[in-house]
Subunit: 259 residues, 2 copies
């Protein structure tokens, strides 16, 4: 048996997306790689799982790399569950998701299929990282991400991660020479100022497209948005205990008796 | 203009589900109610939003209540976005989601469409509550939930909620007389021990159903799982800043320089 770490790779843009191909290329340098990724794009799926429908897996060969690959009909979270519980014969040492075509910084972490896969692995106690590039273009350039992906993954393999914590890594859309390094950050407070583009179909019936503008409301210089805007790779430790512990004391003063 | 609070109601089981009908009935006692809910069940959708497809809204009348109702083709998060940005002419004073047919306690909060709607409202700074009953049955009895739904909603209207915090409320499947009261809790550490039920289709091709067993790993008596198992209504203040602040110091000791 190989002494190299076993690495489970997934994403949410689909198994043929250039971002996941770049991620596989890097992971092949540091471990034995098994890919279980959606057969079609799943962006904006949040932490969806498939409970009312069946799941299909297909073993596929997409390029000449050493990885083993499976295309799956499910969501990113489904892919991780299937990878860990059905496909792999031992527990992976690392799960990586991405590289996403588009930012998952600040509030976007909540909508992110990329991060839902990392979080799903985190539930299982597997060290996990979601990688995203702040460039939605399908033909985005991932070259400048590769050396950072490698050192960040190697650090996680070496140090491990706190229980209940996964990493959310975002890359600025810059040439490699313009990147200043890695910055450990907190999630910025930001908003999507949504607007709905209201249209009419040929039968005169209204329908809507969701559009919107991203607004960073957070002036802190310790946030992922600040780091990305200032030429850094942002790394946010991300947890899935959502308890707002600081609110518990106040809520315990409320009166819940029927009036 | 009415002086009553304006309340936006949604859910993830679909606009005709008995759980949301019960919630509407209670909200009609305390405010002016507008319902924007999915036209079909959306369970397990996590925080999905509709970005690559169009959204449709239909004004509907389902029962004789005073509420105004819209059926929407999107996810629970879409419904809140559409409600706030497109349908309502002023900001709601409260957003309530549910009553979900099934538990959203502990780790289930991450997969929950019900809670994604509350969190989406929270992004907008609207006080929000997700309600769920630990009974997956479509014909579940919601009677014992009603007085608690009312007092909890009234408390939120009176006191407000900390910024960045929404409430995750779960009801045990018990007769009203057996409920001991409301307990403020933290999210339990729990797991789904997934198994995949592997089958073959009539053409001999494998497919899978996701199945699993819920396992509470947390011995604390301050958790939502403990409260529910001991006859209490659980209330967990839930936040969407996912930063694991306690990990930042350790991560800052890592070496990210290329080797």
């Amino acid at each position: 048996m190989s002494k190299k770490p076993l690495i489970l790779v997934t994403n949410d843009d689909g198994i043929t997306a250039p971002g996941v191909r770049a991620l596989i290329e890097v992971m092949n340098l540091i471990g034995d790689v098994v890919v279980v990724a959606p057969d079609s794009p799943q962006s904006g799926m949040g932490h969806a799982i498939t409970i009312n429908s069946t799941l299909h897996i297909e073993k596929v060969t997409i390029d000449k790399g050493n990885q083993e690959e499976y295309s799956c009909s499910g969501t990113p979270a489904d892919c991780v569950k299937l990878g860990v519980k059905q496909i792999l014969d031992r527990r992976p040492d690392l799960c990586v998701s991405g590289i996403n075509h588009g930012s998952n910084s600040s509030i976007n972490v909540i909508y992110s299929g990329t991060m839902s896969a990392a979080i799903e692995a985190g539930f299982e106690g597997i060290p996990a990282i979601g990688f995203s590039l702040c460039d939605y273009n399908w033909s985005a350039n991932f070259e400048h991400c590769k050396s950072y992906v490698k050192t960040i993954a190697e650090n996680v393999l070496k140090h491990g991660l706190d229980s209940g914590t996964v990493l959310n890594v975002n890359f600025p859309k810059l040439d490699k020479k313009d990147i200043k390094g890695v910055k450990i950050c907190r999630q910025a407070k930001a908003n999507w100022e949504e607007e709905f583009d209201k249209r009419q179909n040929p039968n005169g019936k209204d329908y809507y497209w969701l559009t919107g503008k991203f607004v960073n409301l957070d002036n802190g210089e310790d946030t992922d948005e600040w780091a990305l805007a200032n030429g850094y790779v942002s790394v946010v430790p991300t947890q899935f205990d959502l308890t707002a512990h600081h609110s518990i004391q106040e809520l315990n003063t409320w009166d819940f008796n029927e009036k």
